[in-house]
C-alpha cells in the first residue's frame, strides 16, 4: 500500500464479510446446480482465504467438499517490462486437472481487470475448463478491460487514486475491508 494514503473508512466489518461469503456461496451453488465439477481457484494472495471460506460454506450447505486451488499470476502480468526489479513469484498449485470443470476464480478486489485477464491466460495453459466464473469481495470500478464479476460482495464507487484493502484474519490477524485516501492537504 502506498505510504501516503491514510485509512478513510472501514467499508465492511468481519460480520458483514461473513454474510456476503455465505450469500455468494449460495449463488455459486445455485448457478452451478450443485457441486459436481465445481472448483474454486483463489488468486494469490488474498483471493486464497476468500476461496477457502467459500469452500467451507459450500461444504456446510451441500455436504460435499469442493476442491480449492491457488493461482499466482505474476508470470502472466502485462506490466513486467515497466516495473523493476521483478516481483516475487509464488507457487501455483491447482491440485487437480481443470478440464471440463466449472472454475470459480476468487479475488479480493476487482479494479482494472488486468489481474483477471492474467488469471484467464494462466488457466488456459493448464487445460480447458467448461466455464470460468469470477467471485470478488469488492468491485471498485475503473475497469480498463471488458471484464465483469459474476458474484460480487459489495460494489464500492472509488476515486482512482484511492485504495481498497481486504484483510482476512487467517492471514492478517483481522477481517475487514478498508478504503484509503490521500492525506488531506494541510
Amino acid at each position: 500500500m502506498p505510504p501516503t494514503l491514510e485509512p478513510k473508512k472501514t467499508l465492511l466489518d468481519s460480520k458483514q464479510i461473513r454474510r456476503l461469503v455465505r450469500r455468494i456461496a449460495g449463488e455459486i451453488v445455485e448457478q452451478a446446480g450443485g457441486t459436481t465439477d465445481l472448483m474454486l481457484v483463489g488468486i494469490r494472495s488474498r483471493g486464497v482465504p476468500f476461496a477457502e471460506r467459500l469452500a467451507v460454506e459450500i461444504e456446510a450447505m451441500e455436504g460435499a467438499a469442493v476442491p480449492v486451488g491457488t493461482l499466482d499470476i505474476t508470470l502472466y502480468r502485462d506490466d513486467l517490462s515497466t516495473i523493476a526489479p521483478q516481483p516475487v513469484v509464488r507457487e501455483t498449485k491447482l491440485g487437480q486437472p481443470i478440464d471440463d470443470r466449472v472454475i470459480v476464480l476468487c479475488d479480493d478486489v476487482l479494479f482494472s481487470g488486468r489481474t483477471i485477464r492474467a488469471a484467464l491466460d494462466a488457466l488456459i495453459d493448464y487445460g480447458r475448463p467448461r466455464a470460468v466464473r469470477l467471485a470478488v469481495v469488492v468491485d471498485r470500478g475503473h475497469r480498463e478491460l471488458p471484464i465483469q464479476a459474476d458474484y460480487v460482495g459489495k460494489v464500492v464507487p472509488t476515486a482512482s487514486d484511492e485504495h481498497v484493502e481486504v484483510r482476512f484474519d487467517e492471514v492478517d490477524g483481522t477481517t475487514d475491508v478498508r478504503l484509503f485516501t490521500r492525506e488531506e492537504e494541510a
Binding site: 502506498p2 499470476i73 516495473i83 516475487v88 513469484v89 507457487e91 479494479f111
Partner: protein, 323 residues
C-alpha cells in the same frame, strides 16, 4: 486487485549480471532458489510455457561446446517464451578469430536483452558485462565459476535434505580445473554448509584451504560423514600437465564404487554435474543407484535457469554495466 502487495522480497534482485557466486549475498542466493521453486511447476503442466519473457531476446554465446548446459538454457528460454539466438563454437561467427571485444560490440548492435556466455577463459563474461547494456549470465568461464550449476546443485540439495545449513558436503575430483567446485564452495559456505574437497595431490590447487574448505587426498575420507557427495568429471586428456597417469589408475584410487559407498552416512545423496565418465570417476551402479540424484539435477537445472532469466530480465540499466 492492484498487484502491489509482494513486489519486494527481502533481497530483491538488482544485479544486471550473474557472473559468479563469490559476490552474491546469502539472501540473493535464497531469492534465486525461492523463485526457482515456482518455476519448477511449469514443467509439470500440459502447456510448459509462460509468457513472461515474451518478446525478449536472449543470445546464447557458447564458445566452448556444451550440450547439457546449452540445451538447459534453451529449454528455459523457450518455456519463458523468450526468443533465443544461438552462437556456438562450431558456427563461423565465433571461429573467424574475431576478438571478444568486437563480438561484444557487434552483439550490442543487435540489442539483446540477455546474454548467456560460456567461454574457455576466466573473466570473459566480465569483459562483456562491462561493455554491454544487456544482462550477462556466466554459463562457465574456464575454471573460474559456473554459477547456475551451483544454484541447481543447491536447489537439489535443499529439495532432498530440506536445508543446506549444517550439512557436510564433499566434492571429489579434479578440483584444480573445476569451475563447478569453485562456485559450489562459495555457495555452500554462504548458506552455512561445511565443505570438504578431495582430490589426488596432483589435482588439488595450491592454498585451496584459503577458500574455507577442508582438503583431503583420499576418497574414503571424503565419504566419511558426508551428507552429500558431489563427483566431478575427470578429463585427463585436458590436463596435459602430467597430472595423472591413466583413467584406470584414477578409478582405482579415487573412483566412487558401491564398495566405497558402504562407509557412507545414512541418507547420503550422490550428485554429478554431468556428463559422467562411467567407470572413471563413478561406477555405473552408483550413478544409477538409490543414492543418485543426478537426473533430478538436470530437471532442476531448467527451473533454476528460468528463475535466473526471469530475475535478470527485470533489471534495467541505463548504461553498460556497473559503474
Amino acid at each position: 486487485m492492484a498487484p502491489a502487495a509482494e513486489t519486494r522480497s527481502a533481497a530483491a534482485w538488482t544485479r544486471k549480471d550473474l557472473l559468479g557466486i563469490a559476490e552474491l549475498s546469502a539472501d540473493e542466493i535464497r531469492t534465486i532458489l525461492d523463485t526457482a521453486e515456482s518455476f519448477r511447476e511449469v514443467a509439470e503442466r500440459p502447456i510448459k510455457k509462460v509468457p513472461t519473457l515474451r518478446g525478449k531476446t536472449v543470445v546464447n554465446l557458447f564458445f566452448e561446446s556444451s550440450t547439457r548446459t546449452r540445451s538447459s538454457f534453451e529449454i528455459a528460454e523457450k518455456r519463458l517464451s523468450a526468443d533465443g539466438l544461438n552462437f556456438s563454437a562450431s558456427t563461423s561467427a565465433l571461429t573467424k578469430g574475431e576478438s571478444l571485444v568486437d563480438t561484444a560490440l557487434n552483439l550490442q548492435a543487435m540489442a539483446p536483452d540477455l546474454i548467456v556466455i560460456r567461454h574457455a577463459y576466466p573473466g570473459a563474461p566480465h569483459m562483456l558485462a562491462r561493455r554491454l547494456k544487456a544482462g550477462v549470465i556466466n554459463a562457465g568461464d574456464g575454471a573460474h565459476e559456473h554459477p547456475t550449476q551451483a544454484l541447481l546443485d543447491a536447489f537439489t540439495i535443499r529439495q532432498r535434505k530440506g536445508r543446506i545449513e549444517g550439512l557436510k558436503v564433499s566434492i571429489v575430483g579434479d578440483i584444480e580445473h573445476s569451475r563447478v567446485v569453485r562456485s559450489n564452495i562459495h555457495l555452500l559456505r554462504k548458506l552455512g554448509a561445511e565443505v570438504t574437497v578431495a582430490a589426488p595431490r596432483t589435482l588439488m590447487p595450491v592454498d585451496v584451504e584459503s577458500m574455507g574448505v577442508r582438503a583431503v587426498h583420499s576418497i574414503d575420507e571424503a565419504i566419511d560423514g558426508a551428507d552429500v557427495i558431489m563427483m566431478l568429471r575427470i578429463q585427463l586428456e585436458r590436463q596435459g600437465r602430467m597430472s595423472f597417469p591413466s583413467t584406470r589408475e584414477y578409478f582405482n584410487l579415487f573412483g566412487l564404487t558401491t564398495e566405497r559407498m558402504a562407509r557412507a552416512k545414512e541418507g547420503v545423496i550422490v550428485m554429478h554435474p554431468g556428463p559422467m565418465n562411467r567407470g572413471v570417476e563413478i561406477a555405473s551402479d552408483v550413478a544409477d543407484g538409490p543414492f543418485s540424484v543426478i537426473l533430478e539435477q538436470v530437471t532442476n537445472g531448467v527451473a533454476v535457469r528460468m528463475a535466473v532469466l526471469y530475475l535478470l530480465s527485470g533489471v534495467r540499466s541505463e548504461d553498460g554495466g556497473e559503474g
